[in-house]
């Protein structure tokens, strides 16, 4: 019986890790539904991007208020995770504050810094909640945020409030027990924040304090394990994917769009004066689908983008189309891509392979009206704090519409036939290109 709690702890931990691993493998498999794209060049530049943008949060501060709040929560998250290591070891071995004897004075410092960070995180998270729900910052109330996305954002904040409160309450009761001389609660740590909370618990008897301390301890770690498994369902997945996402982001100038190699081959053939027009079709040219109408037509970086999106809405906020009341929202493009990818993922889980479900990303998720409203201005790409490229998806889908369905708006069809016939988007004769030189 003496080992009962260690065993329960080990089972909980292993179960949580098991499900977490399973979910991560789903994420990986779903991302791999995307097409290949070369993103391994310039390793040094990629590392530095990741360190600057993901680790260093450099693009967060372009919006100072949200940026600074986020950085505090982020640092808190990373540093407080050191404490998690101790908690896990204590749980497995059955010790209490196992690091304390080894670290001596440094342990006091460590615990004190966790406490201060926990308090700061609490403050920031409350401010985040107020921004969303009381100040109602506009971008958090766009149509695509209705339902689950809104709840998800709030749940994450509640989770963090609960976890931080449990952490501090655990320390407060621990401190009282240390003061009571209970031999199990060795004198360890310095508690600048939770010592202010001790009056809340000082009326309890020592045995009741032990119950409380243990409950807080267990609820805190269980909460963390639940949160770990919540990531898969949440925009909070960005805390992991922001790193690979910034590593693999596009390094070319933003104005360079993808070149379609299949088209290149065909065009070369057409322009080659020596080509035999009656030659049998080249076997090398596989009849490839142009552009994207579903997630399997996108590349894996675009799919990873979708999983990484935190739904912060900075892209949508900067989007000229969205600002002027058009349906297009680059954030929605990313959310739709993720939703559809998860739907296809569930389809595979159920059937083993993708079974036709009579749905696709185009029309069932993203409408044509949204796609045609884009000015390709790159404001969304520029503003994303973690290197997501909604524009590339829009462009791939337009390519599908034009090249597979010939479904461009009629004005654009006119423009294109002008280019085809006259070499200019307007109906002018190419021979007249120099007329301006003789006009005054």
């Amino acid at each position: 019986m003496a080992y009962l709690s260690n065993i329960i702890f080990a089972i909980l931990l292993v179960t949580a890790i098991f499900f977490f691993r399973k979910n991560i493998l789903f994420v990986k498999r779903n991302i791999q539904m995307g097409k290949a794209i070369e993103r391994k060049d310039h390793a040094q530049k990629r590392w530095s991007n990741m360190i600057r943008v993901a680790l260093g949060q450099s693009k967060m501060v372009t919006r100072p208020i949200a940026g600074i709040l986020h950085i505090v929560v982020y640092i808190g998250f990373i540093v407080i995770n050191i404490e998690l290591l101790e908690i896990v070891l204590d749980g497995l071995i059955g010790t209490h504050r196992v690091f304390a004897p080894f670290l001596g004075k440094a342990y006091d410092l460590l615990i004190a810094s966790f406490e201060i960070l926990a308090a700061l995180v609490l403050i920031c998270v409350v401010l985040f909640w107020l921004r969303r729900n009381t100040i109602r910052v506009k971008r958090f109330w766009k149509p695509e945020m209705r339902g689950w996305p809104k709840k998800d954002a709030d749940y994450i904040l509640y989770f963090e409030i609960v976890l931080m409160t449990l952490f501090l309450s655990m320390n407060a009761t621990d401190l009282l027990l240390q003061d009571s001389g209970d031999p199990y609660y060795i004198r360890a740590g310095s508690f600048p924040v939770s010592e202010l909370m001790t009056p809340l618990f000082s009326s309890f008897s020592p045995s009741m304090l032990v119950v409380l301390e243990r409950s807080f301890w267990w609820m805190h770690i269980i909460g963390i394990l639940i949160f770990l498994n919540y990531l898969y369902y949440s925009k909070h997945l960005h805390i992991l994917l922001a790193f690979p996402n910034t590593y693999f982001q596009n390094l070319s100038p933003k104005g360079k769009f993808k070149n379609n190699e299949t088209v290149t081959k065909e065009v070369k053939l057409m322009l080659d004066p020596n080509a035999d027009p009656y030659a049998p079709p080249d076997d090398d040219i596989v009849l490839e689908k142009f552009g994207a109408s579903d997630i399997t037509d996108l590349n894996w970086v675009q799919l990873m983008n979708a999983y990484t999106c935190t739904e912060c809405g900075r892209c949508t906020d900067e989007c000229p189309a969205n600002q002027t009341g058009k349906l297009l929202s680059p954030r929605k493009i990313m959310m739709d891509t993720r939703d559809r990818m998860e739907e296809v993922g569930r389809n595979i889980n159920q059937n083993g392979t993708i079974q036709d479900d009579d749905k696709q990303l185009l029309d069932d998720y993203i409408t044509r009206e949204e796609l045609w409203a884009c000015t390709s201005c790159n404001a969304c790409v520029e503003s994303c704090p973690i290197g997501i490229d909604p524009l590339s998806i829009i462009m791939d889908m337009r390519q599908y519409l034009v090249m597979e369905e010939s479904a461009a708006p009629s004005d654009l069809n006119n423009m294109m036939s002008n280019i085809e016939n006259n070499g200019a988007p307007w109906p002018f004769n190419n021979q007249d290109r120099m007329l301006w030189a003789n006009e005054n």
Partner: protein, 259 residues
């Protein structure tokens, strides 16, 4: 105006130092033609040996590519590349950021390797090389706000060259709240120029014009023929065309220098 074409020059066995890519707007659009001529005056003044392609020039394919027609784009691109490679073109300057971006970024993977410059960068180089100076004081102290074209700014990180030129005009450069990497699109890019906007509550060019008007400018400086049209329409819509003038940077310079 006597404008040499590449075919004429090469018939004489001559090679210009740079090809001026006029672009469809610069060739056909009434407003944009003025920009073309202003830039040519600057080239003449600086003694730059240049040529144009004339009727051998064809749309870069930019609007086709941004509309999603990769096939038409590549047809245009490869035909243009063939022409330019036959003339062994090395350097290109253009007054259109869309042409600039397409020639610079999209043509290399189709066999067109050129050094491509936007005219604002090119004029700056001429000044640095002491081949051209801006000394006129027509714009001294005038409030000028500059609208960043998306395909020059965000797409290619050219933010400084146009601003340096405005400062050389001795004008007061007043920045909009949304400028440089945060600049708002004029609404023309991505082939929007050629279609009606989707349903919304405002046109993008109106929104951008409002942002420009917040700086109380006398002039809105543009560096793109399409932005120029969009902003001019915006100013007209606000009935401010007598107070606020939309001018390309090349036009400002050529006027300042009385060219």
């Amino acid at each position: 105006m006597n404008i040499p074409t590449l075919s004429e020059l090469s018939a004489e066995g001559k090679k210009p130092e740079v090809l001026f890519w006029v672009g469809c707007a610069g060739s056909f659009d009434e407003r944009a033609k003025k920009i073309t001529k202003s830039f040519i005056k600057i080239l003449h003044k600086a003694g730059v040996s240049f040529a144009v392609l004339g009727s051998e020039e064809s749309c870069t394919g930019d609007p086709a590519k941004r509309a999603g027609n990769e096939f038409l784009f590549q047809m245009q691109a490869m035909t243009n590349i063939e022409v330019m490679n036959a003339y062994q073109v090395r350097r290109i300057v253009t007054t259109c950021p869309h042409c600039f971006n397409t020639l610079k970024n999209e043509y290399p993977s189709l066999g067109g390797q050129f050094e491509v410059m936007h005219h604002t960068t090119f004029i700056n180089t001429l000044i640095k090389e002491k081949r051209f100076t801006i000394s006129g004081s027509v714009y001294k102290g005038k409030r000028i706000t500059y609208h960043d074209p998306c395909y020059l700014g965000r797409a290619n990180q050219v933010y400084q060259a146009p601003r340096e030129l405005i400062k050389k005009l001795d004008a007061e450069l007043v920045e909009m709240k949304n400028c440089k990497s945060k600049g708002l699109c004029c609404g023309a890019g991505g082939a929007q120029m050629f279609k009606e906007p989707e349903k919304g509550n405002k046109d993008i060019n109106i929104k951008r014009t409002e942002q420009a008007m917040e700086t109380q400018p006398e002039i809105i400086a543009a560096a793109c023929p399409f932005c120029n049209t969009m902003m001019s329409d915006g100013v007209k819509n606000k009935e401010q065309e007598n107070k606020i003038h939309v001018q390309d940077i090349a036009e400002l310079i050529s006027k300042a220098e009385d060219l």
